[in-house]
């Protein structure tokens, strides 16, 4: 018989293992049983907790009045006197025979401690020790349970048991963190010298939270004479060093400058940060270079603090360093901060460079006419009083580089400050700075394209200008009707170097332009620009003049118009009269000081009047004479005095130029030019920012609207 042997052995995995179903049932029953136990515990525990809380509440309500009576009882004043006092004390002592009462009484005293002050508080603290409750706390210190020890330390600290200081401070380096931290707090709380002991002996790390609490304890100490914390800047425990730095800063102990500078090299970033904060606090100027050295390897927070410090102790020499950061640092906040610091050290050393619209590059659409646009919003012809002002565009010799000095001048003052302020739109500093910058950029661009090569300038060059006036051709009569009343031909103010059409001559006769602030004299540059405007009457005469809105009231007499009461009132002022009397042939009679007078208050005017004799010329004399009619007596007196001084000076030293010097003469083609240097030094606002403010007021200039739209 052939016997076959199996060629394989069964593998265990093929045979599925037996599932211990009984075990599962067992587990099921076990879990259900445990669940049932939990169910019972929940309610038993709740009942116990409730009962316990109720007992404590009841006992507290019994003990608290007793303690309060005892605290506020004065045996000398009460009829029963000392006997009653002793009886109360005995009652309390009777209660202390049970542990529960002792515990509750401790809690009551702890609760009351925060509610009383002065002598009552002293009595309370003394009572705690008189009743021997501190003994319970001492017993807790010997417990093996960390929470008990911690609780004992806490009680002794809160009840200010001074004698416990020596017992507690030995826990300051306990390996159990909760005990250690509680002991540190107690050591600093119980005695003034505790902080020194703690700083001397602390071996473990001190958490930020612990430092926060320790400083809070020190802050709340009365009559605390802090030790010189620089002593611990050499500690081997880096958290002690850090804490010492914070304490140095908190208590303003500025006697550790050298140590602080050394700590800037510390490996730990927190210590470096705290050291920099101290240096900032104490304005340690010697830190400038070390701060710059360490900057590169610092994190964002430290970088910001360093920059903040430099803003306080930095010098203009630091600007290149700051500029590098502003340009190259990867962190946006750091870059922004660097720019802010630059501007703090030297105003306008960092200017906005992003999101600026390239206004020069924007052309006015073909179909767009300057006169049409406002008509859409204000169908009525623009009233004379809304005439805008334009800029003086000064081309340099090469036509490539902008001039060094500000290229836009301010309008001639026509109204006293009140009249100006009445219509001014408030702008915050940021807006002004940005607009100032935008304007400069625009003007720089225009100037770089104008200049000698002005004839090739493009139509976009002056598109930011508020209102360009052209002499209209006959086929644009409709538009002319809407604008001619409002517009002042720029060329009318520049009678030199060109042939004046009859209309301009008429206008010149009708309008006294001597008061106009500054006039665009760039006909080639403007000509192409105006090609996009309604067809001009005289294409060759393309200079634009616009008059500041409120200034336009000045034109009213010239046009035989009657102004508003405000305008008429303004017209009665000496400034108005002095400027209205001027004629084109007497443009040099305009004094730059008139502008300042329009802006400044009385005190500033008086200061200016003191300055005029030293720098003024003939035109200032005229101006000063006009001031003799000023309603303010002090101004009149000051003007009179200035006239005397200036006259004497001019007689004595006729060569001294003052503001009449040829250097101050108008540029070719420009009716006049104010002394830009002087104006740029004006303390209030730059010329450009004021000009842009005017533009903005009329809606000609906004960051997104540079095409000259206006109301």
């Amino acid at each position: 018989m052939i016997h076959f042997q199996a060629t394989y052995r069964p593998i265990a995995l093929i045979e599925a293992p037996e599932i211990p179903t009984e075990l599962l049932w067992g587990f099921g029953i076990l879990f259900a049983g445990i669940g049932l136990v939990y169910f019972l515990i929940i309610f038993v525990m709740r009942n116990r907790l409730s009962r316990k809380n109720a007992d404590v509440r009841a006992r507290k309500s019994e003990l608290a009045p007793m303690i309060s009576n005892f605290l506020f009882y004065n045996p000398d004043l009460e009829p029963e006197g000392r006997a009653e006092y002793i009886r109360m004390k005995i009652d309390i002592r009777e209660l202390l025979k049970t542990d529960f009462n002792r515990r509750v009484l401790s809690e009551v005293l702890m609760d009351l401690r925060s509610d009383v002050s002065g002598s009552a508080r002293e009595t309370l603290l003394a009572l705690y020790q008189n009743l021997g409750l501190d003994a319970d706390a001492y017993v807790k210190l010997k417990s093996w349970r960390w929470e008990k020890v911690s609780q004992g330390i806490h009680e002794l600290t809160e009840m200010q048991v001074d004698t416990s200081y020596t017992f507690i401070r030995k826990f300051i380096n306990d390996k159990r963190s909760v005990i250690r931290k509680q002991a540190q707090l107690a050591t600093v709380t119980l005695r003034a010298e505790g902080i020194s002991y703690f700083m001397d002996t602390a071996r473990y790390r001190i958490s930020e939270w612990q430092q926060l609490k320790l400083i809070e304890i020190l802050r709340q100490r009365e009559d605390f004479d802090p030790p010189r914390f620089r002593a611990w800047l050499t500690s081997e425990n880096r958290d002690v060093v850090l804490f010492a730095l914070r304490l140095i800063r908190h208590y303003r102990q500025n006697d550790a400058a050298q140590a602080l500078l050394t700590l800037l090299k510390h490996r730990n970033a927190d210590i470096r940060l705290a050291a920099v904060e101290c240096l900032r606090e104490f304005r340690v100027v010697e830190a400038r270079e070390p701060l710059q050295t360490m900057f590169r390897k610092s994190g964002e927070e430290l970088k910001l603090v360093i920059l903040d410090t430099l803003s306080l102790i930095g010098l203009p020499d630091d600007l290149p360093f700051l500029k590098r950061i502003a340009e190259k640092d990867l962190n946006f906040i750091v870059r922004s901060k660097a720019k802010a610091v630059m501007n703090t050290l030297e105003p306008d050393s960092a200017l906005p460079d992003t999101d600026l619209e390239d206004a020069v590059g924007e052309a006015i659409p073909e179909e767009m006419t300057i006169a049409d646009e406002p008509a859409a919003e204000t169908p009525a012809p623009m009233p004379l009083a809304l005439l805008p002002v334009t800029f003086e565009i000064i081309a340099n010799g090469s036509g490539q580089e902008p001039l060094d000095h500000p290229s836009a001048a301010e309008p001639v003052p026509l109204f006293p400050p009140d009249a100006d302020q009445a219509v001014s739109i408030p702008m915050d500093e940021w807006d002004e700075a940005l607009f100032d910058f935008c304007l400069r950029q625009e003007l720089d661009d225009i100037l770089s394209q104008a200049g000698v090569g002005a004839s090739t300038s493009s139509k976009e060059e002056a598109d930011f200008l508020p209102f360009v006036v052209e002499f209209q051709t006959q086929d644009t009569e409709a538009q002319e009707d809407a604008t001619e009343e409002n517009e002042v031909p720029a060329t009318a103010c520049n009678p030199e170097n060109r042939t004046e059409p009859q209309e301009e001559k008429d206008a010149l006769e009708a309008i006294d332009c001597s008061f106009l602030p500054f006039v665009v004299d760039n006909p080639p540059a403007m000509s192409e620009r105006t090609e996009k405007a309604p067809k001009p009457l005289h294409t060759e005469s393309s200079a634009a003049v616009a008059v500041e809105a409120e200034d336009a009231g000045l034109l009213e007499p010239a046009f035989g118009l009657q102004g508003t009461p405000e305008i008429r009132k303004a017209q009665a002022t000496p400034y108005f009269q002095s400027t209205l009397d001027a004629t084109p042939g007497k443009l040099d009679t305009f004094s730059i000081f008139a502008e300042f007078f329009r802006e400044y208050d009385t005190e500033s005017k008086r200061i200016l009047l003191k300055e005029i004799p030293a720098v003024g010329g003939v035109k200032e004399l005229r101006f000063l004479h006009s001031l003799l009619q000023d309603p303010d007596l002090s101004i009149r007196e000051a003007a009179s005095k200035a006239i005397g001084q200036l006259t004497a000076r001019l007689k004595k030293d006729p060569e001294k130029p003052g503001l009449d010097h040829p250097a101050s003469r108008p540029l070719p083609g420009v009716g006049f030019v104010p002394d830009l240097d002087t104006m740029s030094e004006a303390p209030e606002k730059s010329v450009a920012s004021r000009a842009i403010r005017l533009l903005n007021r009329w809606g000609f200039w906004t960051p997104k609207n540079t095409a000259g739209n206006h109301e």
Partner: protein
Amino acid sequence: MSNGLFDIFLEYINIVFLVFTTVLFTLFMAMGYLSTRNSLHYRKKNSIGDISRVMASPLAPSITIIAPAYNEGLTIVENIRSLLSLHYVNYEVMVVNDGSKDDTLQKMIDAYDLERIESEIDPEWRSKPVRGIYKSRQRSFSKLTVVDKANGGKSDALNAGIQLSKSKYVGCIDVDCLLLPDALLHVVKAFYQRSSKRVIAVGGVIRIANSCKIDGGVLEEIRLPKSWLARFQLLEYTRSFLLGRMAWGQIDSLLIISGAFGFFDREIALKIGGYDTGTVGEDMEIVFRMRRHMHEQNIPYTVEYLPDPLCWTEVPEDLKILVNQRDRWSRGNLETLFRHKDMFFNPKFGRLGMLSYPYWFFYEWLAPLLEFVGYFCILIFGFLGILNWEFFLAITVAVYAFATMFSFYAVLWDVWSYNQYTRTRDILTLLFCALIEPFTFHMVVVWSAVRGNLKKLFKVQSGWGSQVRKGFAKA
């Protein structure tokens, strides 16, 4: 081989379920132990001292609470008032109006006298355009900042807030959350109490405010929700927050911080690029990335977890909204796990790679799917007559008993720790919920998870869904 191969296959299916269940039991028991230990320690440690003493400390770090708001016009004013009344000196409330279509922004402007201010924004920061930043003209509301931006979702709004904040820490919360007055003190303590590790994030328990009595942004009386759906969620939250997350916190392996109450070290949050806007599970994903970042930088760090009931919020009382919410959570879970799949059993990430990630993979993502398959198998096997009834009943009873026991333990722990539901009837109701939950609410959760995964699998477009707020004032 007395059985056929098919029978062996069936036996192995049973074994898979048995092993899975046994591991689950073991893990849950371990979690119960760890959470108990952690809670006891936390409670003892924090029973001493008065945390409010440092409220006005000059060293108190700055915190910005960022609250994204989308169509929250009904409750926004009241919610902000609550946020402005916290007991802390150095904080700011930043409400980010995420392109609301209702009058959320206008209500804030009117109620808090807001005016637009200028502020620089990093041009390289990726978030939807900020339309305006508002501050109040009144000094009493000086802590409030409102950011109005184009709609980009919650993550995008939080990113904008993180970027615009200048504080050391940022708190990302739901605007309808109610924070207890000393919530920030607890948070600061959690951030500051470690000396050997950097705390990069702090999370906390979310408690359910449905039916609670809230007046003027102050929680006046804690009540059990009237809605059964909310009651089930209360039980689930208690189990999850008091036991689950507390346990993970104990072993420093917490991988999720609730989007309703999470605080982050702003520097780290910025370094990792803020929230991921491409996932609906952003609250989990950001913790993953922050942890990874710290691991890669080899900097000692930790994520702290606060068991104190500091944050109260409404939960859905509508089944459809609940399903949508759980569907979204499921998708978020999957997306996050997929993005960080290289952490799976990767020893480089220590406990995160070897324990936390696998747990999340098997028991947060896979378990509902497996459970669903199990139900399906029971039906099929039962219909085919091949169901091993003895095993089925035994394991069902064991699982049910364990689930109930675990829920009871959560209730027990809640009573011991905080004892907030003082009426016996409330506790009985919660325990009753624990008894019926496996057959009711749990089924809904499983189905939602399956739906979420199916959506993800078949790339069905689905966003956040919506939550209809009743508003605390009406509660």
